[in-house]
Amino acid sequence: MRFSGLRVLKEGLTGNRGWTPHWRDPDPNSDYDVVIIGGGGHGLSTAYYLARDHGITNVAVLEKGYLGGGNVGRNTTIVRANYFLPGNSEFYSHSLKLWEGLEEDLNYNVMHSQRGLINLFHSDGQRDAFARRGNAMLAQGDDAVLLGRDELRPMLPYLNFDDLRFPIYGGLYHPRGGTARHDAVAWGYARGADRRGVDLIQNCEVTGIDIEGGAVKGVQTTRGAIRAKKVAMVVAGRSSQVAALAGMRLPIESHVLQAYVTEGLKPCIDHVVSFGMGHFYISQSDKGGLVFGGDLDFYASYAARGNLPGVEQVMEAGMALMPMIGKARVLRSWGGIMDMSPDGSPIIDKTHVDGLFVNCGWNYGGFKAVPGSGNVLAHLIATGTHHQNATGFRLDRFRTGRGIIDEEGKGSQHNLH
């Protein structure tokens, strides 16, 4: 079924009885060309692009819970391409281009809203660092505008321009940055993949990876053994556990990142805004809730929930930066499990096992990468070569020291990002 305004009208007039499932619930076959472990945003988009771009449709996505139940459904929905280091820069640029037009491509309204993103800076040194970033964005062919304090004021009048502990010097404006409806992204890709013949198998946990003679042969699951020529692990949040099934240890530590939404409010924040002197980023959803987040709780965790010191840090940053949100009430907090890599950048690569691929290490930033990540992983799986926009996400970069991608400059060691 094709979705459109007309369709909504027609169904509305006939009692909405004609809607059909967005995807099937097939039982797993015994054999696939490609098995993707993980039915989150990245796994689903990988399946979609395998089918769309490479004609590989004998594909199963195995999800231990429900589709889109991981980080794609628990993030702050920010979409941007404002990275500056080679490796990241071209990849996120590529991903943003896929976002643009995703609705038509998927025939699903993911509500990608390019409302503009502004990173604030609070010192000359930060301005210089953001200038370097902005210039990298321009050199990549993306958009960036360096705004001074006086240009920012009319755009974001609610910021504390008067007595902020770290005064606002200006901001790096990324007009094409914005947000999207996170769940819809997962569903849109799921529906798109399903329509192209991919089997989406929920409640199917992978319990083993079959390797013979250094090559992958299939997986063991709670719904039986499945043979596969190629297997991709796309399970951010559980990467270390799944990789362990293939005898691998990854340069990953798992952390909880909390995020928050307030009660619905009339429009008051039109952009995505991030604070430069404390981890804090915020936007307002189309329903009116302020959606915001900050830093990790900062301890290894698989609990998908956080603690109060983490909460307070974020709220304090919010109160410092834009005290007008003080009377907005936090309605809900949640925690996502982040694959934290040593340099803060992801890994999309082959492994030491033939036919086994890994996609992990998304740190805070996996949501915006959903289209790009699936697209380049599909390329790698289908062609055996890295996509031209994803040559930097190598698994061995820490061992060799070559191509470490440390955007934040905090170091390439665990727990500095």
């Binding site: 459109s4 305004g5 009208l9 509305g12 007039l13 809607w19 619930d25 429900y66 459904g73 609705e103 025939n107 699903y108 309204n109 990608h112 809203s113 210089d128 200038a131 370097r132 990298a136 321009l138 050199a139 990549q140 062919g141 505008v145 502990r165 005064p167 409806r181 569903w187 849109g188 009660e263 619905g264 409010l265 009339k266 429009p267 002197m277 404390g278 189309d286 329903k287 009116g288 609990a303 929930r305 109060l308 307070e312 709220m315 304090e316 940053a317 919010g318 109160m319 005290p323 007008m324 949100i325 009377k327 907005a328 936090v330 809900r332 907090s333 949640w334 020291g401 070559r402 390439s412």
Partner: protein, 977 residues
């Protein structure tokens, strides 16, 4: 309608308030909802999507409909539950999410379009044309959505936070909670009793049952009086425990002043508490659920428990003629309470065929309400019996579909509640939160007697665990009626039957979601927005998942619940972030010269937590550059004075101090002579540069390390780790002395002259070569002197105990001025160091190695050190890495910008061609042009090459010559001289 002679309000204290500009009157003890009901106001809000007129549904914090805006100006508070807002003199409240008025809302047109606005409709449309999303669709949706509005102003009201500790936290002060607090309090335990209501007692205030032979609320008062007399019991009223966290930590919000118009100076309106409790008893009660039927959202339809609360606690009837609909004996109890209060009850509609007979009222057994009419207020309900449909006039309907235990806190640490078929609800999983026990209605115990029993038992168990002796005391007598319920979630039939009132999610929506294969309860929630409104599904989630279970042919336990997340009820950001507004975000660190710098008109800039002077303006100077150039001139030509106290200083002592420094620095310190200073480079274990600074050897076993201002804390932590974690056997001790010493750079050709004028004994040049240090005396005070330079001039840093810092700064600047110099700020300091090619964190920004900054040889080959092995990874030693260079425009008026990128002259500025970037620039008064430092691929081998500096952001392209990083006095003669 106010009922004569009923309720716990104080009729001797009338209170005037306004709603939507109209004046009303209530009594002390009223909530806004009870007072509005008493005044005959039935419509209190509009729903989110369809803008349907809505009346109050509940009498508690779970209220989904009666959300109002309270207060004005910067005290404006949106989305206040009318059921929780106590009225006070002068209270002003407004309805919200309507235009132009609550009675006539143009957005209600959405209700007519409802067939097209069902579950998930927006995922299927608004896709064409593409550009319309941001321009048209989204703005329209955003304006229609949302509830109340923020004032847009910074808060004029104060919020605060506080910490509390106790043996036992009792959450909820109904019969179970009171009993738990009483038993634990009598046994001497340190108890906190918290309850979200203004008045403690829970359902005892809303029901007519007796406890211990007296009215329930009177028994509650007796218990509360006893608790108040116990010094070991703290009562926290108007306090919602909103979250359970690790380690027995609970988040709680106390509403301190919302019930009053008073705002005493310094008083917070809310206090956010973190309560650390050895044990907790959850006695949070239960929330009644409505039954879904066509038009069940009409104003005047409310939960039966709420009706009893309004009648019994507030002396208000929601109508003249109140019908009752339900599936348990609660329906009967409600009718009896209404009748006792003199309210007409046209019928009790009980869905159970086997409901107990009653002679007190008209009972329809095996019947359901299947429709309701009256858009702005209920007029009649239609009931369906075996005989057919029948219309019954009523202006209010009390509905009970059963009770849902308030299990929320037990689920905050990821446990799921357990379904109990016998009472048709979810109850807490035992041990779900370590140290927390559920008791009473939140545990599925619905009679007063079982609540008392469970409360007492929970307290006893806690006392035993805490090792306290427990006296066995008899429980008070109370009602112990069985809870008889026949599940009823939704009445079948045409039309829309509401589940989630605020978000306008109907039974049809849930069924459609299932039809579209959103069968997981999480999918259904996210697709329909069920349970995502301000009540987080407290009123509707269980019914919705029952509908989903039905639609998917599964049982309720197999369908499962969505995840319960904190906070239990919404908490203001201002409370959770209290104290951080403005300067409170981080401590302010002031150097001892701060006041003097301010006095001289210096703009202060943030450096870490410190403030440092940017420059010291003089009369007649029109911009900072003039001041900066003048200050650079002081240092280059006379003498300049700068406060450098903010740099980190660490005192290191012990027989292994030298070995320790050799291990944490890449270069050698064991070979440093006493009385000398050496520059050191510190690496992280990953081989990248972490920090740099000078370290002085004050004695054989005594060093003084300097760190950068920004990295002082990080370095201290690192040193502690290396010592405690890696080399615990080494006998070395260190302590920060950053705060102890006020330290000033005195730099320039006349530096020595200045110092000779203030030191108690003049300096002997022979004793003070470059990179020496030692003790000095100034004004009889023991100080330290270091001959070091960050400017390239003959430089000293003089340190005195901080109490003398302000005085010394004044003396130094006065003397400097007398010698043709004066104080200099960060701008000049930056120019001076760039001219000399000295690096700061602009260059050692975390991604650079010693090799990159041209200090590869500072990683000593003779010894191990932190970071050494990893710095030798092949990728970190490749010649084409970006390496530190100097950059100089080929035209003297060429402009440079930090953050610009470098390209070959002929290459277009695209990423693939990137050659490097610029880190620091300044206008060099010495060279008379701009200069910069930057990183260039293979830069050390490209001196003399012309590269293109490109800054697309600011539209500047400048051809620059690549040079060594030292622009001025490259052989360092001035510094050493």
């Amino acid at each position: 309608m106010r009922l004569a002679g009923r309720g716990l309000i104080d009729r001797s204290k009338p209170v005037a308030f306004e709603f939507d500009g109209a004046r009303h009157s209530g009594f002390e003890g009223d909530t806004l909802a009870s007072a509005l009901l008493a005044n005959g106001v039935r419509v209190m809000g509009r729903s989110f999507k369809y803008h349907r007129p809505r009346g109050v549904l509940s009498a508690g914090s779970e209220e989904p409909n009666a959300l109002v805006t309270v207060g004005a100006g910067d005290a404006r508070e949106p989305n206040v539950r009318a059921t929780m807002q106590e009225i006070h003199e002068g209270l002003q409240a407004w309805s919200q999410n309507r235009w132009p008025s609550l009675g006539f809302d143009l957005m209600a047109v959405n209700d007519l379009a409802a067939p097209f606005l069902g579950a998930g409709f927006y995922y299927k449309t608004f896709m064409w044309p593409r550009s319309f999303w941001e321009k048209l669709y989204e703005p329209v949706i955003r304006r229609a959505a949302g509830l109340g509005a923020l004032s847009g102003q910074a808060g004029g009201e104060r919020y605060e936070r506080a910490h509390a500790f106790c043996d036992l936290l009792v959450i909820g002060a109904g019969p179970a909670g009171l009993m738990a607090a009483l038993v634990a309090g009598r046994a001497g335990a340190d108890v906190i009793l918290a309850d979200e209501q203004a008045r403690m007692g829970g359902r005892l205030l809303a029901e007519t049952y007796e406890v211990d032979g007296q009215a329930g609320h009177l028994w509650a008062d007796v218990v509360l009086a006893e608790l108040d007399a116990l010094p070991n019991v703290r009562r926290m009223g108007r306090t919602t425990v909103f979250g359970a966290y690790d380690g027995g930590t609970y988040g709680a919000l106390e509403r301190v002043l919302h019930h009053s118009g008073r705002r005493p100076r310094g008083a917070p309106v809310e206090t956010y508490w973190t309560i650390v409790a050895k044990r907790a008893v959850l006695a949070a009660g239960a929330i009644e659920r409505p039954v879904a039927f066509r038009n069940n959202d009409r104003p005047g339809i409310m939960t039966a428990g709420a009706v009893r609360a309004y009648v019994n606690r507030w002396g208000v009837s929601p109508g003249q003629s109140v019908a009752v609909f339900g599936n348990s004996d609660d329906a009967h109890r409600t009718a009896r309470d209404l009748l006792a209060a003199g309210v007409h009850v046209p019928a009790v509609i009980d869905s159970r065929e086997d409901a107990p007979e009653s002679r007190d009222f008209e009972l329809r057994r095996g019947a359901v309400v299947c429709d309701a009419s009256g858009r702005r207020g209920l007029e009649a309900v239609t009931i369906r019996t075996a005989q057919g449909e029948e219309r019954i006039a009523a202006d209010a309907l009390a509905v009970t579909g059963g009770w849902n235990p308030t299990v929320h806190l037990t689920c905050h640490m990821n446990a799921r509640p357990v379904w109990r078929d016998d009472i048709a609800c979810f109850v807490p999983q035992e041990g779900a939160v370590p140290g927390l026990r559920a008791a009473g209605a939140c545990n599925g115990a619905f009679s007063t007697a079982t609540c008392l029993r469970e409360g007492a038992a929970a307290a006893r168990a806690v006392l035993e665990e805490l090792g306290r002796t427990v006296r066995d005391e008899p429980l008070p007598e109370a009602e112990d009626d069985p809870y008889r319920i026949a599940p009823l979630w939704a009445v079948s039939g045409k039309g829309r039957a509401w589940l989630d009132f605020q978000n306008d999610v109907t039974v049809k929506d849930v069924k459609q979601a299932a039809q579209e294969n959103f069968r997981s309860v999480e999918h259904m929630k996210r697709y329909t927005t069920q349970g995502m409104a301000t009540d987080q599904g407290k009123n509707s989630n269980v019914a919705a998942l029952a509908v989903l279970a039905d639609a998917t042919g599964r049982g309720i336990p197999q369908t499962g619940t969505t995840t319960f997340r904190p906070p239990y009820s919404p908490v203001a950001i201002a409370a959770l972030g209290a104290g951080a507004e403005g300067k409170g975000f981080r401590p302010e660190r002031f150097a001892t010269s701060h006041a003097a710098s301010i006095e001289r008109g210096a703009p202060m800039i943030e450096a870490g937590l410190w403030y440092r002077p940017s420059y010291f303006p003089r009369d007649g100077e029109s911009d900072w550059r003039q001041s900066c150039d003048r200050e650079v001139g002081y240092v280059r030509e006379a003498v300049g004075v700068a406060d450098v106290s903010t740099l980190g200083k660490i005192d290191i002592q012990g027989k292994d101090a030298a070995a320790f420094l050799d291990f944490v620095y890449s270069n050698m310190f064991s070979t440093l002579k006493v009385g000398r200073v050496r520059y050191g480079l510190m690496l992280r274990e990953d081989g990248f540069v972490m920090d740099d600074g000078t370290t002085a050897r004050l004695g054989e076993k005594h060093y003084l390390m300097t760190t950068t201002t920004a990295a002082a804390g990080e370095v201290m932590k690192h040193l502690e780790f290396v010592h405690q974690g890696l080399q615990p056997d080494w006998d070395v001790r260190f302590v920060s002395v950053t705060e102890q010493w006020a330290q000033f750079a005195v730099a320039g050709p006349k530096a020595r002259e200045l110092l000779d004028g203030i030191l108690d004994a003049p300096l002997d040049a022979a004793d003070w070569p470059f990179m020496s240090c030692g003790a000095v005396s100034v004004g009889g005070i023991a100080g330290r002197l270091f001959r070091i330079s960050f400017s390239g001039e003959q430089g000293f840093e003089i340190a005195v105990p901080a109490r003398y810092g302000a005085a010394l700064f004044d003396i130094l600047t006065d003397r400097a001025e007398a010698l043709g110099g004066g104080p200099y700020g960060m701008e000049a300091l930056n120019v001076l160091r760039i001219e000399k090619g000295f690096i700061t964190h602009a260059e050692i920004h975390g991604r650079t190695t010693a090799f990159d900054i041209g200090m590869g040889r500072m990683v000593s080959a003779k010894k191990d050190c932190i970071g050494k092995t990893m710095s030798e990874r092949p990728g970190l030693l490749e010649a084409d890495r970006e390496r530190l260079v100097g950059l100089k425009p080929i035209n003297a008026d060429g402009r440079m910008l930090a953050g610009a990128h470098l390209f070959r002259e002929e290459d277009p500025p695209v990423r693939e061609n990137g050659q490097g970037y610029v880190t620091s620039v300044c206008h060099s008064p010495m060279l008379g042009q701009m200069i910069g430092l930057g990183f260039l691929k293979g830069g050390s081998d490209r001196h003399g090459e012309i590269v293109k500096m490109w800054d697309g952001l600011r539209g500047v392209t400048t051809l620059c010559e690549v040079t060594g990083p030292v622009f001025f006095d490259p052989d360092g003669g001035r510094m050493r001289g």
